[in-house]
Symmetry: C2
């Protein structure tokens, strides 16, 4: 088992309410079907050492503890109140809590913002009281909290073992499901659980920071329906994931799921694909299926991280080696190419019919000596070409399947695997088909903190998570996020002018903004008169010779230039330019008689290449986000795009280009040359640093950018101006 990777070192402001020294249970009850009973039982049975104050006007004692008629009647100073009463009572109770000096309240009731209308109003009323009285709110519409290391078990869950997996879940059933799975198949216990519910006050980011700082938490695990302040969450996640793994299951991968989530916690889902990209960028381990949450969390908590994608498979059955190979490849992992030395060493211990090409198939060599599997693992773990080791097959069951007399050797094998796991820096991931029946050798591995998984599929998801985390941690020290450029006064003035005229930037202004900050935008010149056009024609002749030019109308009143006849392609020579200008002006005037036309823009026509798109949006949940993809159907039909939160690091930009499924097109499919990825990475970083410098820039759309074997050309650029942003800000 590797040590806890680290902790944030400040003390969370939530510490008082998540590890309180006294708790008021409002709505405490002696009726075993009530939550106010369960919570009392949980605290008493688990031996909570702080003070417990049941509040119930109709009882003197509850479960042997003196009860109080109201919150204000409590004599002590509990830090936390658990409120089990209906929604309508909550605002009044929060005020009482505040007056009693209670710092935080857990609100179980539903019927708040998630039901809309009156519920939303009640939630606002509650929050007004909470702010007025300085009470922090957990929930409402939460399943509650526990903190097992402080013996606070407000859910009264049975059989949950204290351990180091922390959980924040917007689903109580999900917690219960993880607890039952851990009880039966798990390797570790739990530290703290919080149900954030509607997050009307405290949100995921606050809870995550708490788990980041909590010395009892090795891995933070989150079930999320929706973030309130996604940008803040990413910032906290970036800090926490540098210290310990954070596993997130985000619901709402489909429209049907988003609708269901919205009726559950009132969460705004946002784009699932974008959320996943941004979480991964912040170092979060995102899992796609609910049944891999616990295996991945445990794997990340217990196992070494892989430095790369190269997996060595040791198997005792060809069929399962084949399945493992398929799953690894599908997960983006590779079969390590074993060195000659490694293969020689394997040949020395295995029978001649064994395959020493990865996946290694021992082909009967271990039937009479299962501990040889540990030897093979040791051999491949020593190979520099190997990043992680994956044992696949019958280990643990040899003494059952073949002969009882093999048990001793099998236990020696288990011991050797435990020793190897302590000696190597590479993860050992073990799948055994005997996992369901827990034979002695597997129990030994389990005790030593080496998880044994029940399916190849599950194991491969763990391997993938270990690889991603290892690679994230490896690049972290070498990366910094791109600093904003220094905004230029003349460009800030362009934004001011546009805002004054209540319009977005003209294409030439957007291009000037980019060009001035080092983005490669082909030269283009605006002709406001026939004389200017002549001069421009002459200059282009000097610069690009007879290369064809393009002409476009410039008018704030004409958005769809092509539809207005405002674009002419493939123009050569001054006469052609002159004629094109006349036609454009005539056509645009006919199309939009009232339009104010500033002139025409002339630029060399871009040569053929691969069309890509770079976009920026300001997302209501996550703030400024950069988007990259291939043009046309790739974006519009296949939605094959990558997202990153701005600012980006170089690694972020590189990984965007690698991520898209149509990457093959960039790499030179259909006989075309590969494009210059490095220059695209530079473009993404430049855009990131420009966006951060001009807060008045609300959206940006470079569509298309033509990527070449050498460099790129931004052919069209649109910048949407934030007309609300203060002048102050835009000069910042």
């Amino acid at each position: 088992m590797n040590p806890i990777e680290g902790h944030l070192d400040s003390r969370s402001p939530l510490h008082d309410i998540l590890a309180p020294t006294g708790i008021a249970v409002v709505g405490a009850s002696a009726d075993p079907t009530k939550r106010g009973y369960k919570a009392m039982v949980g605290l008493i049975k688990d031996g909570y050492r702080g003070s417990i104050y049941p509040v119930n006007p109709r009882a003197d004692m509850i479960l042997g503890v003196k009860a109080w008629p109201s919150v204000t009647a409590i004599p002590g100073n509990p830090e936390l109140a658990l409120i089990c009463t209906p929604a309508a009572t909550v605002p009044g109770l929060i005020a009482e809590c505040g007056r009693r000096g209670i710092k935080g309240a857990v609100i179980l009731a539903s019927g708040f913002a998630e039901v809309g209308g009156e519920g939303a109003a009640l939630e606002r009323e509650m929050m007004a009281k909470a702010e007025a009285h300085g009470v922090r709110i957990i929930g409402p519409n939460t399943s509650g909290i526990f903190n097992l290391h402080h013996k606070i078990n407000l859910l009264a869950l049975d059989n949950v073992k204290p351990g180091d997996v922390g959980i924040i879940s917007q689903s109580g059933n999900m917690l219960l499901s993880l607890a039952l799975e851990a009880q039966h198949n798990g390797h570790v216990g739990f530290s703290t659980y919080v149900g954030p519910g509607n997050q009307s006050d405290i949100g995921f980011n606050d809870y995550l920071r708490y788990l980041g700082e909590d010395v009892h938490t090795r891995v933070a695990t989150l079930y999320v329906e929706g973030f309130r302040d996604g940008r803040k969450f990413l910032d906290v996640a970036r800090e926490v994931t540098a210290m310990k793994p954070v596993v997130v299951y985000k619901s709402g991968s489909t429209e049907a799921g988003q609708k269901a989530a919205s009726s559950h916690t009132g969460a705004l889902a946002g784009s699932y694909a974008m959320t996943v990209d941004l979480l991964r960028q912040a170092g979060v381990s995102v899992v796609q299926y609910s049944d891999e949450i616990l295996p991945v969390a445990e794997g990340l908590g217990l196992l070494q991280k892989a430095r790369g994608k190269r997996v060595a498979v040791i198997s005792d059955g060809g069929g399962q080696a084949t399945i493992a190979s398929d799953r690894l490849a599908e997960a983006g992992l590779e079969l390590a190419e074993l060195s000659d030395t490694t293969r020689q060493q394997l040949r020395e211990v295995l029978l001649p019919q064994a395959s020493t090409v990865n996946p290694v198939d021992v082909a009967g060599s271990t039937d009479a000596e299962p501990s040889l599997l540990a030897t093979c693992m040791e051999i491949v773990a020593a190979d520099d070409n190997v990043d992680s080791v994956f044992l696949v097959g019958m280990f643990g069951g040899y003494s059952i399947r073949f002969a009882e007399s093999l048990l001793g050797d099998e236990m020696r094998g288990a011991e050797a695997m435990v020793d190897l796991s302590r000696a190597t820096t590479k993860p050992l991931v073990i799948y055994s088909l005997y996992t369901p029946i827990k034979p002695p050798a597997l129990r030994r591995l389990h005790e030593a903190g080496l998880p044994v998984y029940a399916s190849i599929e599950q194991s491969v998801r763990v391997l993938a998570a270990l690889g991603e985390r290892g690679q994230y941690l490896a690049q972290l020290p070498r990366q910094s996020r791109e600093a904003a450029v220094t905004p230029r006064p003349e460009l800030a003035a362009v934004f001011e002018r546009a805002r004054g005229e209540e319009r977005d930037l003209f294409e030439y202004e957007a291009k000037q903004l980019l060009r001035d900050h080092g983005v490669e935008v082909p030269a283009e010149r605006i002709a406001r008169s026939e004389e200017e056009l002549a001069a421009i024609a002459a200059r282009f002749r000097e610069e690009v010779g007879d290369a064809p030019l393009v002409m476009k109308v410039v008018s704030k009143d004409i958005l769809h230039k092509s539809d207005a006849g405002g674009v002419k392609l493939n123009l050569t020579g001054e006469t052609a330019l002159r004629q094109a200008r006349a036609e454009i002006l005539a056509s645009c005037r006919a199309h939009a008689p009232a339009a104010e036309i500033e002139g025409v823009l002339v630029t060399p026509m871009a040569s053929k290449g691969v069309e890509v798109i770079v976009g920026v949006i300001r997302d209501p949940i996550f703030g400024p986000v950069l988007m990259f993809g291939l043009g046309g159907i790739f974006v519009e039909i296949l939605e094959d795009v990558a997202f990153r939160s701005i600012p980006l690091s170089r690694h972020d930009a590189e990984s965007m280009v690698e991520q898209i499924k149509a990457k093959k097109v960039l790499e030179g499919a259909r006989g075309e040359p590969a494009v210059d990825k490095e220059s695209l990475v530079d473009l993404l970083l430049k855009v990131s640093s420009i966006v951060d410098a001009y807060p008045a820039l609300s959206e940006l759309d470079l569509n298309p950018v033509i990527a070449y074997a050498d460099g790129y050309a931004v052919v069209d650029a649109r910048v949407i101006v934030d007309r609300q942003a203060s002048d102050e800000e835009s000069r910042r």
Copy 2:
């Protein structure tokens, strides 16, 4: 539990060797680590009622059974021999078996074709003996067989329960894994197992037919690395799946997996995507992950089939309802829209805060009365808008989580679910987070043959399989495969001529073939001289007026017409045609001076539409296969194509068009009108019926076909001629 759907009614020729009345164990041994020991133990312990003949020259008795020095020394007439000795001994032993009248032999040894070279030669030698002596071969390189209803357990597996799941697996570990999983989490036992190994004689199709005919087998489950005669397999599968479910896990979904499989069983993998499409066409339930094989097989065996995709979810936790909604949508299933009556009935039994919109969230209504969940299931099952019912949540655990006193009501709920499962024709799929701890209510469901799954993901895969199977069975009686057209002598002669000239069909010949059989190919005329061109120009002017024409060179020596300057587009008027012809001839003569040029082809230029591709290949494993996809990057980069075995049914053709991921493009993305799918379906059926009529047609490629809002146009057609096919065949 629904009854076994049916059986093929003939008796399999494999019956004698898979259910033999006597077995010779060649290489029987008293050494507990040997397979020859295990097999003896398996037969004796399980109480095999036939005769057992251990063969071992160095023992008189083995495990209390008289041993014989050689196969020929055996006094009785066993039908099957299990051969446990090394590869080199096998050919000689097969000859002995034949002389002794033994009908079949199970060959455990590896070291045959799967290792190539000498191993392949040894396999050929063995097969020569087998054919000469009339001995059928199971394996070699097999893990063996069992037939539990006949107490034949040659693998000596412990704790396998007889039941009705049959298994054919090219991986012994996979069998073992399924057996252990069934022992622990399963609901049913096993009937017959066969490891086909290298399939040097008996192949998957033979074994599948056996399971199809076996009255003890309700579901056939296959782990396949590669088929030997895929076409035959599809034929058998089509027959068997009409009677009972067939579940296939096909390995080799990636190149890495295909490589591993090839070193394991020497299997040729072929295209995974194609294999999956063809299996599904034949009614096979294909599973993608190894850990869903047993759940899906059990679900198909035990549950009703769904008539459609509309699932009603009943849940007691909003988070898990959300996860279920996501998984269902990802699997192509839909949330049923509940009728007003259904919602009203739900409102009558649930609390006001419950959500009666699907996914139904009982929101606490069942906390004190879990049997209400069964009531809700009953209500939604009665809704005509619902095809299947999915229970998600805590059922089975209410008496643990809330109060022990709820146990009685929970058991009543279980009973009601069992009753409902017997009364309804819709499947009830149950997920409980308490599955791992098997509480009484879940045990009751289990005993009654209602599977309870351990994860939402697993449950949804079962729902998807039930839906696919239900829909397959529903369309089956209404569908027949398209009959071949009657081949025309003049077209057969075209093939003969091409073969005589050692070339493929000219484009105009290929188009004539299609046109003559009713495919829509725009009129085109070949001009062999300037005079012919003038006449052609006149005829086109009459037919299409001034619409632009296209001209292409016709020469068997010029394959890449564009490269040779042999294509001219957008031609209007006789002068333009004349000039184009001159230019094409000049350019082609310059490009390929030796080329024999027959003339030029003139055809109207196709107007804009959606480019699709229709192709036919003769696959070495599966025979004639039709391919359909969108043109350009969709095929070349995204490999987004659908395959069907020829001949197709109308359902097959329709499902091809619906299957491709880029279907959106056909349905009118980016402001374009939707294309005429019906006419594309007709095209696919016509191509299928043409291919079947002309055996000399080896490959066909219609690329592109332009699909319009009304009809389509085949713009280019290539037909590759099978130069090996006999004249006989091509006249058939």
